[in-house]
């Protein structure tokens, strides 16, 4: 894990400086990054990640009415709380033995599509792109900005910005035109969300068994007109993103190494298909594959599985370097799944959360985040999967699996085709997202914009189906149920920033155990009990530095681009730390942006 032990031939004598960023801004939740940087060789040598927030959902949900779980778990996350409600409802439906009326399923799908469009837009244009804006690049890489001023934007006809620097100016916070437009689009898409799920970010109308949303034609009219009003923005965003990201590869050769790690991607699937999904565990393999974002695990570019049962049974929660007591000697809750397969003691169904607050020690325990891993049966490895920030893994598994085929989105086996209808300024367009060569910062960011388009296109499909149902007189949106005394359930969904699973055990009609596994514990986990670093740590460690500043006025923009590309959302937590090395100088976080804006 350390790159400094053996300097490669031709490398200069290391000049190592410790640097930390705590807290990281423009993310949700509490994250610090602790690194060692070798300025002689322009490279990060070590990186640790820890979370400094513990709230205890899995602790205080014990003994509560299971029907409350969707309302409570929404409060885990302040930007994608509805993903939790939805995932909880999926898990509860399984436990209660019910399904969702088709119209309600499409109302939830439309709500979730709006959530992806809102959240990716706000995160990309208002948070991530501050790292790519003119003001930032002027501070970190003046020569790149000079080149951007002279570089014509290839897609200028679509988005209207002549040079790359013009696009970068449009990203300037609070003043740039894209920044301001994105805030407006994030509001329009949240209105679409509120039409379907009541309120953003903690929905009011989503229940186990369906929704309380009134399925009148007006509901869909209001959604459709808003969707059409943002299509120009979506098409232009894809064009602009391609221009800026392609420019980075050209202007800074080697930039593909920034935030790059081995291709280890997980996606748990999204957009339920009510014609296939009965929420029974016994049929989960089939209805999982019918989802409109295909679940799957990609290792080194190969699709290892698309089976949610495999995915479920392979999950292992390792304590690693986190502030908890082990539960390995507690009584298990679930020894076998409903298909009779054995369930490991380290599976979330059997986890008992025993918090043990303690002093932060980077040689021992340094995080409130545990280390979720996926056991690859072929090799026995506990894989530190990442989500690629969400969209990269979603598009990658969907593209490889070749299972999604609708009028508006199609998987080709190596790419995903996205067709968007005509909009005010731009004609009907078919975009193609192709599987990239790397899992790195740029490709995580690029996929995000394509996934906004993917969701917009699918929303048109869901609207078609929902309106057909209503016009045919099927307006049922809720199936009644009773809570069984004993049951297990699991829900698999995609939170905006990646894999989300909820694991529920009911005893005596109450919650006996409930463990949600959101994307950030996967991405932001610390070193696990095998010493394997978590994905942020792994992606930052060994990456090259392209910033032109020296240690005295270093901003760390390349490192921040690498970390933010995962879309950190840390009400589930992160921090990074430095190992042993030749420390010449210790600096605290670099200063930046005192007069920025």
């Amino acid at each position: 894990m350390t790159a400094t032990e053996q300097a490669p031939a031709g490398a200069k004598r290391p000049q190592i400086v410790e640097m930390s960023w705590d807290p990281i801004t423009r993310i949700i939740g509490n994250l610090g990054i602790y690194t060692k940087i070798d300025f002689a060789n322009q490279k990060v040598t070590e990186c640790y990640s820890t979370s400094s927030l513990f709230r205890g959902y899995s602790v205080f949900m014990k003994g509560k009415d299971p029907r409350d779980a969707g309302f409570i778990t929404s409060r885990i996350c302040g930007i994608c709380g509805d993903n939790h409600t939805t995932c909880s409802v999926y898990a509860q439906n399984m436990a209660y033995g019910i399904d969702t009326p088709p119209l309600a399923e499409h109302i939830i799908n439309l709500g979730e599509a709006a959530e992806y469009m809102f959240d990716h837009t706000l995160f990309q244009d208002n948070l991530v792109f501050v790292d790519f804006c003119e003001a930032m690049i002027k501070d970190t890489n003046p020569s790149v900005l000079a080149r951007a001023e002279k570089t014509e934007a290839r897609n200028a006809k679509i988005h209207g910005y002549r040079t790359i620097a013009d696009i970068m100016r449009a990203y300037n916070p609070f003043e740039g035109s894209v920044y301001k437009q994105a805030l407006q689009v994030s509001r329009t898409t949240r209105e679409m969300f509120c039409k379907m799920e009541g309120r953003h970010v903690h929905p009011s109308t989503v229940y186990p068994g369906g929704v309380g949303t009134m399925p009148e034609p007006t509901l869909f009219t209001d959604y459709l007109t808003r969707l059409l009003s943002i299509l120009d923005f979506v098409k232009q965003a894809v064009a602009m993103n391609d221009d800026v990201f392609d420019f980075f590869y050209e202007a800074l050769p080697g930039y593909e190494e920034v935030g790059r790690r081995r291709i280890l991607l997980g996606c748990w699937g999204a957009y339920q298909d009510p014609t296939a999904c009965d929420y029974k565990y016994e049929h989960m393999t089939d209805w999982g594959r019918a989802m409109k974002v295909t679940p799957g695990i990609v290792v080194d570019g190969q699709l290892v599985t698309t089976d949610l049962v495999d995915i479920n049974l392979g999950i292992r929660i390792l304590l690693g370097s986190s502030y908890y007591e082990d539960w390995i000697n507690e009584e298990p809750f679930v020894t076998h799944d409903p298909l009779g397969n054995p369930v490991d003691m380290r599976h979330p169904w059997n986890q008992t959360t025993l918090p043990l607050p303690q002093k932060r020690n980077f040689d021992g325990n340094y995080s409130w985040v545990m280390s979720p891993r996926w056991l690859d049966k072929r090799t026995g490895d506990h894989l530190a999967l990442d989500t690629g920030g969400g969209p990269l893994a979603r598009l990658w598994t969907t593209a490889l699996a070749g299972l999604v085929n609708t009028e508006y989105v199609k998987s080709t086996g190596s790419s995903v085709l996205i067709s968007l209808p005509k909009s005010e300024k731009l004609p009907e367009m078919t975009l193609e997202w192709k599987i990239p060569k790397w899992a790195n910062a740029i490709e995580r960011n690029r996929a995000r914009t394509y996934f906004v388009a993917y969701s917009a296109a699918l929303a048109v499909h869901f609207l078609d189906v929902a309106l057909d149902l209503i016009r045919g007189g099927d307006t049922k949106v809720f199936n009644n149920f009773s809570v069984p005394d004993e049951a297990v359930g699991c829900g698999f969904h995609e939170a905006v920033r990646g894999v989300l699973s909820h694991h529920l055990v009911i005893k005596d009609g109450k919650i006996a155990n409930y463990h949600p596994y959101p994307p950030t514990p996967w991405n932001g986990s610390p070193r696990d009990s095998y010493g394997t670093p978590g994905p942020y740590e792994d992606a930052v460690q060994d990456m090259p530095i392209f910033e032109e500043n020296r240690p005295e006025n270093f901003k760390g923009v390349d490192i921040m681009r690498a970390v933010r590309s995962f879309d950190p959302c840390l009400p589930c937590g992160v921090h990074m730390h430095l190992g042993k090395g030749r420390v010449l100088k210790k600096l605290h976080s670099p200063m930046f942006g005192a007069s920025h804006g």
């Binding site: 003001a135 609070f174 903690h202 009400p571 930046f592």
Partner: protein
Amino acid sequence: MSIDPGTNEVASKPTSQQARKGFEHIDILWISEGMSCDGDTVSVTAASQPPIEDVILGLVPGLPKITLHNKVLSPTLGGEAFLAPFRAAARGELEPFILVIEGSIPNQNIIEGDGYWTSFGNDLETGEPLTLNWWIDQLAPKAWAVVAVGTCAAYGGIHAMAGNPTGSMGLADYLGWDFKSTGALPIVNIPGCPVQPDNFMETLTWVLYHAAGAAPPPPLDHMLRPQWIFGKTVHEGCDRAAYYEQADFAKDYNSPKCQVKVGCWGPVVNCNVPKRGWMGGIGGCPNVGGICIGCTMPGFPDKFMPFMDAPPGGSLSSMLNKPYGAFIRRMRAITNITLNEEPKWHHNGPRLTSGYNPRWRPDGSRPSKTKARS
């Protein structure tokens, strides 16, 4: 760091209220490192009445110029660049400022040893994490105003529910309910889980007008909530309340009728959401099919759980309402039938039956023909 657009100096000068003393500039130090989900910060980006960027850019007349320091919206890369104004304020070198706290306050006193529940940056001397509690102890006594955004910060909320391991509480529980800021204001609580976007921006704007010397302090109730927002109940603003009046209740969530029998607490919860909608007038709770789970209330969540069962008090009041409701529902149905019929003179027959009379007089007398001719 600062969000300092460098525009619109004019807005910082009170015009009509020159006589009152106020600030021309004020910093907003926003800490979301309480036990929170950052959902209130995210919610505030949905506001359009007024939008956050308009306040930051100085587009709302009469407000002081503000500099916002919020982790999610900060243009800085983080770390010390972001923490600098917080550290300056803790040293007493930055004033005036408004302290906004998001998230509930954990109890550090229950931890033995050096652990912590939540932290915000590190101690520069020791490198150890600085707890949220340390920051509040430093900043609250120096703040011109203190605002608790969302139910967690106001009253404890979800993270303070029964069985929680962190001993979480609201800001007023931590600082004392009689706390006064240096500007002589009590804590301003703006509850909601999350906060309704426009409710927050509107209250903040009032506090800022007060900071400019252009308005009295915002009127708060005994739970320190803005009176004009939390003075009425959900039910009083709900468009399904008429079903209650007619004792016509939803039996499950398919129904567009009053939801009190399927878990809605609207009749006894202080909140304006059904009337104001969730954002820009769109969405909400019982008005759009979502039961009110009391998320703005000091008793949230425990006193409202299990959420999907009828509130215990609701069964008595809805039973008492039944005979009255059934009677007026029937009477209204009869009236409604007649109102759905067109008047009988709408026809294509040979004679006009509308009662046409161009010389109609209020006393019913017919005008004399001789007089009319003369």
